[in-house]
């Protein structure tokens, strides 16, 4: 990105002054190096989002922002229904509520190493992954609707996990306001055999070790210790979310002129929050959030059972579950007044700080865990929400490394088998049905996740707690 088009507000904050049809400024968070490396399209997409009606305060980009669909991936924007605000299917994206959860295992890395190969094989057998895979559950229509209304709570009621898990999930495991009756037959058909599946692409299930504690007090509150073995699960709302995104993208794009919306990019497909279409989308999107929460909950139970077969001493407890692609109604203070805002986070993590009323008691004093996925060859991070982030980004932070190279380029540069062998030589086991998929996901195709996390920390969006490194990774 051309830095001359930006005003530098601080070491890690860059402004796009309002111009043209922009209603608010654009604000990008990142170090000079990260912002310079961002695609020019990120600039244009931040500007485009700033033109949408009812946007409040600013159009934000997180340090891992990259070229997305309408919104940049790593984009955050809030809209006020009382000021003509919109909800955007493009702003949430296709993989609604894609997210990450982190489980402690009660085990040390030394417990894992002797059985790592068996454990990787067992996890790979236990959790369906990749193109064409199906789950062990088939949902008929009533069960589908119950799942879409109940989220992770539905899964727990059916024996996937425990009630204690629910308090460690955003929305306590169940997104209210879901309207299963709005979700199309196509979306339900696409999902009926996909519960408890990982998907493909950048989704993964990873056994990791806590490699470094950065914030000892916070790590203690999260029960993380150096050398602990943990498990990360990264996936979303599967086919149901993809289909809802597809259908509402079209409906909103075609309906926009009728609502008087002159969209600078068709992909910014939006509708007024209070319109029937806006309300329908919110009901369907919330159902997709529940689908993602249920899916990660089922996978969690499959992982627990797999661990029990290999390491009976393991006790997998959910630390937290965060979603990346959502629009949520939140109360935020704006100019001294509480306002009810529809906060879009596209490839961004909610990062509420200490004392926020939406947090479970366990995190009230420290802030919520912010889980940042890395690549299968580098690292992931646990961060914690800060008090300042509410004022800086509606309580949001980065979500991952972000690609530095297209899949197309990655495929030209790496051979999947070679990537697997190189990682094995470093002690990282990969299990994937597709070597081509592994090549496209090669660690070198991603930005430096540590630089992204450091920038989020320096910008006050979240604070680094611990670094996690992979031991074994199951890819789709």
């Amino acid at each position: 990105m051309d830095l001359s088009s930006l005003t530098r507000a601080s070491d890690t904050e860059w402004r796009i002054e309002p111009h043209g049809r922009m209603r608010v400024p654009g604000i990008l968070y990142g170090t000079e190096a990260l912002v310079r490396d961002m695609d020019e399209k990120v600039y244009q997409q931040v500007v485009n989002v700033a033109t949408l009606p009812g946007i409040v305060r600013a159009s934000y980009a997180m340090p891992d922002a990259h070229w997305g669909y309408g919104f940049p991936i790593g984009g955050v924007a809030a809209f006020d229904a009382d000021h003509g605000g919109v909800v955007s299917a493009g702003g949430v994206g296709f993989d609604i509520s894609c997210g990450v959860r982190l489980l402690s295992t009660g085990l040390h890395v030394e417990d894992i190493e002797p059985v790592k190969k068996r454990l990787a094989d067992e996890l790979s057998r236990s959790v369906p992954a990749g193109v064409g895979s199906v789950g062990r559950l088939h949902l008929d229509d009533p069960e589908m609707d119950a799942m879409l209304a109940g989220g992770a709570r539905w899964a727990v009621d059916r024996g996937y996990g425990t009630a204690a898990d629910l308090d460690r999930i955003e929305e306590h495991g169940c997104m209210h306001g879901a309207r299963p009756e709005i979700v199309s037959g196509h979306a339900k058909r696409r999902q009926c055999d996909e519960m408890g599946t990982l998907g493909s692409g950048n989704h993964y299930l990873e056994v990791q070790r806590v490699a470094k504690i950065v914030d000892a007090a916070c790590a203690a509150a999260f029960h993380l210790h150096e050398g602990d073995a943990v498990v990360s699960i990264h996936c979303g709302s599967r086919g149901l979310g993809h289909q809802i995104g597809t259908e509402f993208l079209k409906e909103m794009a075609l309906a926009a002129p009728g609502y008087g919306l002159d969209l600078p990019d068709k992909e910014l497909a939006s509708a007024p929050i209070e319109s029937p279409l806006g309300q329908n989308y919110l009901g369907a999107m919330r159902a997709a959030i529940n689908c993602a929460l249920a899916n990660r909950q089922i996978i969690t139970e499959l992982v627990r059972r797999a661990f029990a077969r290999i390491l009976p001493r393991a006790a997998l407890a959910l630390l937290y579950d965060v979603s990346h692609n959502t629009c949520k109604v939140e109360l935020h203070e704006v100019d001294g007044r509480q306002r009810r805002l529809f906060v879009h986070r596209k490839g961004a993590t909610r990062a509420f700080g200490p004392g926020h009323p939406d947090l479970p008691e366990a995190f009230a004093a420290v802030g919520q865990p912010v889980l940042i996925g890395g690549t299968m060859g580098t690292a992931s991070y646990v961060l914690v929400g800060t008090g300042q982030s509410l004022g800086r980004s509606w309580g949001s932070s980065c979500h991952g490394a972000g690609r530095s190279m297209s899949r197309h380029q990655a495929l030209k540069q790496w051979n999947g088998r070679q990537v697997i062998n190189e990682l094995a030589a470093r002690g990282i086991l990969i299990r994937s049905p597709s070597t081509r998929g592994v090549a496209e996901e090669a660690p070198g195709a991603y930005k430096d996740v540590t630089a992204v996390v450091d920038a989020a920390d320096r910008a006050g969006l979240s604070r680094t707690v611990a670094r996690l490194e992979p031991l074994a990774c199951i890819k789709g």
Binding site: D39, K41, H66, W67, G68, Y69, G70, I73, G90, G93, F94, D95, G130, V131, G132, V134, H186, R189, R190, G199, S200, G201, G239, H242, Q243, G245, T246, L249, K250, A253, L254, D265, K266, E267, A269, G402, R403, S406, R407, H408, Q409, P433, S434, T435, R436, G437, E440, G476
Partner: protein, 145 residues
């Protein structure tokens, strides 16, 4: 005298930051849609590796050519996802805003196809259906994977 134009049917992928673009070129709009569909399959596996065992019918309507392309690709994505199939051969007919098509394929075979990634949806990013200078048509968009 200008050299005669040689009809070409080609597909390719183009780079997108996080995902991948599919592009088809053909002597007619319908041919370009066929090539874009081959590019779609090419995101997952080599279209040549997909055996044309089963045929399915697809129909869609849209108010513009570009939305029709997105609808066509999204219909294929839906069929791939729900039938757990891949498609490697297509016939497309376009009459105004209406598309009808036959797609031939087979169930996904993880060993033989070694599918790289599933496709979430065809997006409106870099979406274009347009005539080219040489009596050919272009059909393209980015797909989210």
């Amino acid at each position: 005298m200008a050299a005669p134009v040689v009809a070409r049917n080609t597909w390719e992928h183009f780079a997108h930051g996080a995902d991948i673009g599919v592009r088809g070129v053909g002597p007619t709009k319908a041919d370009a849609f066929v090539q874009a569909a081959l590019a779609l399959t090419g995101v997952i596996t080599s279209p040549a590796a997909v055996r044309p065992i089963t045929a399915i019918q697809i129909a869609c309507d849209a108010p513009s050519d570009d939305v029709l392309l997105a609808d066509w690709l999204n219909a294929l994505i839906y069929e791939m996802a729900t039938r757990r199939m891949l498609f490697g051969a297509f016939i497309v007919s376009i009459d105004g805003s209406h598309l009808t098509a036959t797609a031939w394929g087979e169930p996904v075979d993880p060993v033989r196809h070694e599918p790289a990634v599933e496709i979430k949806g065809a997006t409106y990013t870099a979406l274009a259906v347009a005539p080219l200078d040489d009596d050919h048509w272009l059909a393209q968009c980015v797909v989210d994977v």
